[in-house]
Amino acid sequence: MPQKSIRQALNEALAQEMRRDPTVVVIGEDVAGGAATEGQRDAYGGVLGVTKGLFAEFGEARVIDTPITESAIMGAAAGAAVTGLRPVAELMFSDFFGVCFDQIFNQAAKFRYMFGGKAKTPLVIRTMIGAGRSAAAQHSQSPYHIFTSVPGLKCVVPSNAYDAKGLLIQAIRDDDPVIFCEHKLMYDLRTEVPDEPYTIPFGEANIVRDGDDVTVVALSRMVHYAGEAADILAKEGIECELIDPRTTSPLDEDTILESVERTGRLVIVDEATPRCSIATDIAALVADKAFAALKAPVRRVTAPHTPVPFAPSLEKLYIPSPERIAAAVREVHGYAG
């Protein structure tokens, strides 16, 4: 099977769905690369090349390059979705959600409910998350927990190219608004991806590795750091069961709870800040529904409650590391009560 990067997998998902369904459109800043400027359109295909080739194949009626105005992009996309299109809107950096949150939080997320179930809003918002490129405090955050907290929104956080393609196609075919969070350091990460279109259901966690000692739940890029930690720990005789929820809303609670019921120990790894976060949410879930199974306190490995630092040395300390994850696992594994 061919190896593809996350970038290629996303591009393939978009192109295949646009071919299959003429109501699928793409809208956002630079998605066709440099509208109203000199030179070749679509030269790069978005700031990270994910939409490359779509403009040439589908034209400007379906690949809509917009001015820098997130509120208009999301407003237009939400309106298009509720009136019959399936827009894939791009919010270049998730940090920018603040300027278009009414359209997402108060409009798109509420249409189905406000219209008594008669309206559907098949909107996908692709957006970049994550620290690690010294892009500073306004371009490095991972606010998926904020989207997750909104009833009416679904939220996807893929960690590999196979999942990215299947989850994006699922998101496009879903009749509710979906926020699709792409980590900016993972676009070149490759794995085997089928050429054919396929879907991965929402709310189904991936069990990345089996283990009986400690359950580790990790999201997005942290899945890979947790995997590195698990490799280190395996040499010490500690076997981690690594769970990638893939979607935070809906959340596959059963897979997490069943694992914790077996291991009795839980570490959650989340690149976002710790207050009101997914890590906190999952800790609460387990305290609520699997308390009797716990043999040790739940440990969260997260960013600190601060903005993302610009200085590379500080940013490195900010992001959870495999060493910090391994230390947390050792702590809960060795906990004697």
């Binding site: 196979y162 396929y198 879907t199 189904e204 069990i207 089996d210 059963d254 897979t255």
Partner: protein, 380 residues
């Protein structure tokens, strides 16, 4: 290397296996065994399988303990006669080097990749092992499976003959469009594949629905079929586990898949997570569930098999053998027992619907012996 000292190494089963995990040892250190006895269990990308002794001897040294995950070719144990001194065993272990695949071997491995043919405008995938020599073998998988179901069978049969495993329409890497999906169309596909695969005459081996396809093909074109091996075959009675078929068509999530796939085997604990994941990855592809629904509707309408070949067994002009797992929960073992007075029938203990995976060594031996006896009889 010392004479009479032999290594048991991590085997390679199937295309995707790069490493395996030692589940446990079935013989103790110091224990004697004969050729073919079960030595240890290895967890593979699909199902736990046993390693059988390639020759008799004593298990002098267990090198890889239960739980160890090691690459293909890694030393697992040392076999030697009792009189070989301990020091020689020590030296053997110390001097053992995993054979690094040479450039030539890698190029060869490159060649061992599934390929495509076109049959009636439809892409079909196949995998070929072995080299031209004796009469080739064609392996036909069952409903919802693919050529990887033969991961233990295909390499074992590939000494001195070509062994081709085919993906049926709607399955594995073949096109997911199946037309009517009925009995005739799948037999057409198998027959149509013979020419492009360069298979003039074959030993046909079919499992489950693939058994019914193989038997039908043998009835339709006996001149192409040297022998027929039917493993837990469909078409030999009306009964079938309808909730398995229904569940397989419908399942979309891991939880459902674990339950449904568990029905296939004698011991569901032997099924690896990777096998479940592989089935789910196949099921998620656009068109697969629709294709399987069509096939199921044509082959197994209202929970019964539409194809009944029991009245035509006598017409089969070539040698035929039947194998079945005693604990088959998909197709009842009674279908095999009913044939026992007419055909060689092998009922395998502690096996479910996948005897070729659950009891791979035994099934491989039975096929090899059968094919060998047929070749002797016809003098090829």
């Amino acid at each position: 290397m010392s004479a009479g000292v032999a290594a048991i190494t991590m085997p390679k089963w199937g295309l995707t296996m790069t490493e395996g995990t030692v589940v446990g040892w079935l013989k103790q250190q110091g224990q004697r065994f004969a050729e073919g006895e079960e030595i240890l269990e290895i967890e593979t990308p699909k199902i736990t399988n046993v390693v059988e002794a390639p020759s008799g001897g004593t298990l002098r040294r267990i090198v890889a303990q239960a739980g160890a995950t090691l690459p293909i070719g890694a030393l697992l144990a040392v076999v030697a006669a009792d009189e070989v001194p301990e020091a020689e065993i020590d030296a053997f272990v110390a001097g053992f080097a995993v054979v690094e695949p040479s450039a030539g071997q890698e190029a060869e491995a490159e060649g061992v990749k599934p390929r495509d043919i076109e049959v009636a405008g439809r892409r079909l995938r196949y995998l070929e092992l072995g080299e031209a020599g004796g009469v080739p073998v064609l392996l036909v998988h069952g409903f919802g499976a693919d050529l990887n179901t033969w991961m233990f069978t295909q390499p074992a049969l590939a000494a001195g003959r070509r062994v081709v495993a085919l993906d049926l329409p709607g399955h594995g890497g073949s096109a997911k469009e199946v037309g009517a999906g009925d009995v005739e169309s799948l037999i057409d596909a198998a027959e149509g594949a013979l020419g492009p695969l360069g298979l003039e005459r074959v030993h046909l081996v079919g499992h489950s629905m693939g058994g019914a396809i193989a038997a039908s093909l043998a009835l339709r074109r006996p001149e192409h079929v040297a022998s027929l091996t039917l493993i837990a075959s469909a078409g030999l009675g009306p009964e079938i586990n309808a909730s398995f078929i229904d569940g397989f068509v419908r399942m979309a999530r891991r939880r459902e898949a674990v339950e449904v796939i568990g029905l296939l085997v004698h011991d569901p604990a032997l099924v690896s997570r990777a096998m479940v994941e592989d089935v789910l990855r196949y099921k998620r592809i656009d068109g697969v569930s629709a294709a399987l629904a069509k096939i199921a509707e044509a082959w197994f309408p209202s929970g019964r098999q539409s194809l009944d070949l029991t009245g035509r067994i006598a017409e089969l002009a070539m040698p035929v053998q039947v194998m079945w797992g005693r604990d088959d929960r998909i197709l009842p073992v009674a279908h095999a027992e009913a044939l026992a007075n007419r055909l060689p029938v092998h009922i395998l203990d502690a096996a479910g619907h996948l005897p070729h995976m659950e009891k791979a060594g035994e099934v491989n031996r039975l096929i090899e012996q059968f094919i060998g006896s047929v070749s002797e009889r016809v003098g090829t």
